[in-house]
């Protein structure tokens, strides 16, 4: 370990290859290191122990129902934007054992689930991911009941976030005011430059991790350049949206979402004909809820051995797009796709605010990209507003 930790709020620069030292140090600190990796044509989060595994030089093109990776010559590590995974996949895993039981002579014995995973360190999280993390904290930790497994993983999480320099056509974090600049909730915030990273320390353990790398202090102009990068992107996102192609800024037009009185717009339009129109297109496949970094619905199932003496209670992700989600013995409440899409969107953008004080949408655009038919919630809201172009 180096002589002193870097204090919170430090800005330092490290050469790009030193990212490996950072990963090594996090592993030495006992973390399981998770980062972006290429898998089946997409950037996902998975175990990373070498910088060679990072999707260097790849950028994503995204649109409604469209995701393609393309090589880019400058060899940047983090110019892809967001893939189908989010931190949800690790903090609120798709499948998890909550409780184990065994039966001996008609007596049930309860066993605590497996000890918590080793602490996680995530490299490459974006501002929208951090916001989504906080939104899920409000669901699982900041309420009257606390989910112990989520809390255990969350309290040990180390986040090395990255400021976006690029936005996909599906991004609208500027509308939701959740990005693209990483402003809080991180241990380290990286800004990628041509030949180095500028790293801001956001916590003591962040300082400890980066102190192990050969770092140099940033000059004022380097700090300003690092701070400017996401701000410039944010300005460009505002200018390129909504849907006006401007030659000044290269790249496709971006989406935006008018959030003015959005809750009231939705709750006052629960019988709007647009719900039927979107139901005609929606396959109720639940992709949007799977890729959404804040969707938290789940179902607990019984998993038993053949004798029935060994039982696991397994929680897995569920979706309001399925019929069984609202099933009761007296019948299914949301029988139509119309009612399920309406439930999803009004919950995400309106009643979430009643429940948790914040919107459930972070503007990451995953639900647009991974919808097989390209349903775009920004377009649906524009239609409800009567402001479709």
């Amino acid at each position: 370990m180096s002589a002193t930790n870097l204090p919170v709020g430090s800005f330092v620069r490290i050469a790009k290859p030193e990212l490996q030292t950072l990963i090594d140090q996090l592993r030495a600190m006992g973390y399981r290191t998770i980062g972006p990796r290429l898998s089946q044509g997409a950037v996902i989060y998975d175990d990373v122990d070498s910088v060679e595994q990072l999707p260097r030089g790849w950028v994503d093109q995204q649109d409604g129902g469209f995701y393609r990776l393309q090589p880019q010559e400058d060899g940047a590590y983090f110019d892809y934007v967001v893939g189908p995974h989010s931190l949800k996949n690790f903090l609120f895993p798709p499948r998890e054992t909550l409780l184990q039981l065994s039966r001996e002579q008609d007596q049930w014995r309860l066993h605590a689930p497996a000890p918590p995973d080793p602490p996680l360190a995530v490299l490459g999280a974006r501002a929208c991911d951090l916001r989504a993390l906080w939104v899920q904290d409000l669901v699982f930790v900041e309420v009257e009941f606390v989910d112990p497994a989520y809390q255990a993983r969350r309290s040990n999480l180390f986040v090395a976030a990255v400021n976006c320099r690029r936005a996909a056509a599906t991004c609208f974090c500027h509308s939701m005011k959740t990005g693209p600049a990483v402003v809080s909730g991180f241990d380290l915030a990286l800004t990628e430059q041509d030949d180095h990273f500028v790293i801001e320390t956001g916590s003591e353990r962040g300082g400890e991790a980066v102190a192990a790398c050969p770092w140099t202090p940033c000059t004022i102009s380097e700090i300003e350049a690092a701070r400017r990068a996401p701000r410039e992107l944010e300005r460009a996102m505002h200018q390129r949206a909504p849907r006006e192609r401007q030659d000044l800024h290269k790249g496709p037009p971006l989406r935006s979402l008018d959030v003015t009185d959005l809750r009231e717009l939705l709750l006052n339009n629960l019988e709007h004909p647009r719900w039927e129109s979107v139901a005609q297109r929606c396959l109720a496949c639940a992709n949007c809820t799977m890729v959404c970094p804040t969707c938290f619905c789940s179902t607990v199932d019984e998993v038993t051995d053949l004798t029935g003496d060994q039982v696991r209670r397994e929680r897995s992700w569920a979706s309001c797009f399925t019929a069984e989600h609202s099933y009761m013995n007296s019948g299914t409440v949301r029988k139509s796709v119309r009612s399920r899409y309406r439930q999803w969107l009004t919950h995400k953008l309106a009643t979430w605010i009643d429940q948790f004080g914040v919107s459930g949408c972070v503007g990451c655009g995953r639900c647009i990209t991974w919808c097989p038919v390209g349903i775009d919630l920004t377009e649906e809201i524009a239609a409800l507003r009567g402001t479709m172009p």
Binding site: W108, P148, F296, T304, R313, S330, H347, T351
Partner: protein, 289 residues
């Protein structure tokens, strides 16, 4: 959205909210075809003695390998040591429960959910209107009112079931009447020996002369019955804030984690199941919400 915590509820034990407690079935009483009442006692003595619930709350009854079912508690909240659940066979868990008998083990999480505002009703009149197994979550409220009968004005129980055989707790009506509850029973289908009312529960309102400003209505039953009870109560100028209804939705976790029971902005499991009509009005009349 929070209803304000009823007493004796919101603290879960250190083992975590997912951990059930083992209990023994002390007694099983057949109430009606497909409906039985189970008396449960926690195996851990300290827990059995300290367990408290408020009327209208529910437990998650768990049969390992089968799953959990959200079942309201139907015993006297002021009687400690054991508690009762009246269960109708409806799904796989309740089916498996129906094969259990005294001495068998069962697992329990709870209590969960909001409560009937029995204390708020003090000094006023109370109309309890329910149908079928909807009487089960209201019986704790009836017991509690009887325990403190002098503090209430007129108290009505309007209760209906499909047939006389389906009526719950029929052996208690006389005791309730003796304790000062005006019990009015109706059935959808009479039998030759039936001399009581025939018809649906909301119709029983026709015979009531309510002092609306001081009347609270507590209702539970099929959603269609609830809608018409609300209609009759409103027609008699009972305030929206004084009509209390218990909603049914799919409950999987009972803690607001799983998302299944959402109704508008509420989680029925933790904001409800008991709501005021003022809370539910925007959502009750929307199809498929």
């Amino acid at each position: 959205m929070s209803m304000g915590a009823p007493t004796a509820t919101r603290s879960m034990d250190v083992a975590g909210p997912w951990t059930p407690r083992t209990a023994r079935i002390a007694n099983v009483k057949q109430e009606a075809p497909g409906i039985a009442t189970y008396e449960l006692v926690f195996e851990e003595e300290r827990r059995a003695a300290s367990y408290r619930f408020a009327p209208g709350q529910f437990n998650m009854l768990y049969l390992p390998g089968m799953g959990e079912a959200a079942i309201s508690i139907s015993s006297d909240p002021e009687k400690y040591g054991s508690f009762l659940h009246t269960v109708r066979v409806a799904g796989n868990v309740t089916q498996a429960l129906s094969r259990k008998s005294a001495g068998d083990q069962i697992l329990v999480r709870g209590p969960f959910g909001s409560a009937w505002p029995v204390e708020k009703c003090r000094g006023g009149d109370v109309v309890i209107a329910c149908g079928g197994v909807g009487l089960a979550p209201l019986r704790p409220a009836i017991y509690q009112i009887i325990n403190h009968r002098a503090q209430y004005g007129r108290v009505f129980l309007l209760y209906g079931a499909r047939t006389p055989n389906d009526l719950l707790y029929a052996d208690e009506y006389d005791a309730w009447r003796a304790a000062g509850i005006e019990v009015v029973i109706t059935v959808d289908l009479g039998a030759s020996e039936w001399t009581g009312h025939i018809g649906v529960v909301p119709v029983l309102f026709y015979r009531l002369r309510l002092n609306a400003p001081q009347t609270h209505v507590l209702t539970c039953g099929p959603e269609i019955m609830i809608r018409f009870v609300v209609f009759e109560a409103l027609a008699r100028k009972v305030k929206r804030e004084q009509i209390h209804l218990s909603m049914e939705r799919n409950m999987n976790c009972a803690m607001g984690f799983c998302g299944h029971c959402q109704l508008g902005p509420t989680f029925v499991c933790k904001d409800g199941p008991v709501f005021t009509y003022a809370q539910m009005e925007p959502y009750l009349h929307l199809e498929d919400l």
